[in-house]
Subunit: 198 residues, 2 copies
DNA sequence: GTCTATACACGGATAGAC
DNA sequence: GTCTATCCGTGTATAGAC
């Protein structure tokens, strides 16, 4: 085995864990399996991480960051409906481009719900989603000169609910057309909650 | 240990697995842990089930049946908005009454996505949700003398997306008020897709 | 500082006693 | 027909060689 600096090993192991969970599920992500995927010796694992949980926490943070970035990418174009639609479609492209990111995050979230050590990681994850959704809605309202007729926090949650719900359904049946149709419909629906700014 | 007939043991074990997964997560549901929870000797497990997967399949089917029943409970009352709202609220009451049902199903679904043996169980689960949602929408349209302005399949998916999304968000932050507010808002939104029947 | 070899507990599953 | 005792693979983690 090539001797590799620990800093680089950490990265390799996190990436490997991502691939294993994405393709074979959470249960398959044992230390042995992850090391094999990374091309690293088994002992490298506990040399780089104090425990398996430490790797999972880092993986969660990193994967979540990617998702938040994707959801923060606002596409403003013309009116509110168009902007919401373009933004949701932009997000959806990132999902189809790398479906594993969603799959892995669902698995990690599910796991975190029952691990006190990781529970706050999951909550921070959701707080970040809501913050991002809120900013997206504010940005669109600003650009289109409208205001929202429901509390922004409530709308933000609706946006998160829709993206998560559509993603979850898609992970099960992989019906991309249905997913896009649902997103478009919701974009149209949400746009109905905006009125010209006074 | 009391000598118990196999038929009854099966039931006990499935119930025990449900409780263990609900309170401690999927990973905690080992054969030993489940047997302990059920007050059964270890060997009872493989006497009643050919494998752990067989128990998981039965647990999935059973838990899913409970959820489908809850979602199939339509509350018609006055206009479309009220009916949708009452139906979603009725569903939500069952969630809050037994949160573990949702938690367990999410875990099982997640697991099934990477187990070929159980994959079709997950798909059937979702197919059942869509069928139920469709029937709910048809029933409401019928009772309120309206028709839907989007394909019923698309609306059914939207209903599933909303219920799943709201549930998932709630499992993470347990914000019941936000969940109800989101459901009410979506009920109102969806009602806007109905017009008087011609 | 990094890897080879090993410890030890726990997982699912079973053989055979009652 | 039901349970006790055990098998053997795999899991995380580590001790010690290089």
């Amino acid at each position: 085995m090539a001797r590799v600096p620990a800093r680089e090993r950490r990265r390799q192991l996190v990436d490997a864990a991502f691939r294993v969970i994405g393709s074979e599920g959470f249960a398959a992500a044992t230390t042995r399996r992850v090391c094999a995927e990374a091309g690293a010796p088994l002992a490298a694992f506990h040399y780089c991480f104090a425990s398996k949980q430490e790797l999972l926490a880092e993986l969660t943070a990193q994967t979540m960051a990617g998702l938040v970035a994707a959801r923060a990418d606002v596409h403003v174009s013309g009116d509110v409906t168009q902007s919401l639609r373009a933004t949701l479609r932009g997000y959806w492209e990132t999902v189809e481009k790398d479906p594993n990111r969603e799959s892995v995050l669902m698995a990690l979230t599910q796991h975190a719900l029952h691990e006190p050590e990781l529970a706050d990681v999951a909550e921070q994850q959701y707080a970040a989603y809501h913050r991002t959704a809120r900013e997206t809605l504010e940005e669109i309202a600003d650009a289109c000169a409208v205001r929202w007729t429901l509390p922004i926090a409530q709308l933000a949650r609706m946006l998160v609910v829709v993206t998560d719900g559509v993603t979850l359904a898609w992970l099960v049946d992989r019906d991309s057309d249905a997913a896009r149709a649902a997103l478009d419909a919701f974009a149209h629906q949400l746009a109905g909650l905006a009125v010209a700014a006074g």
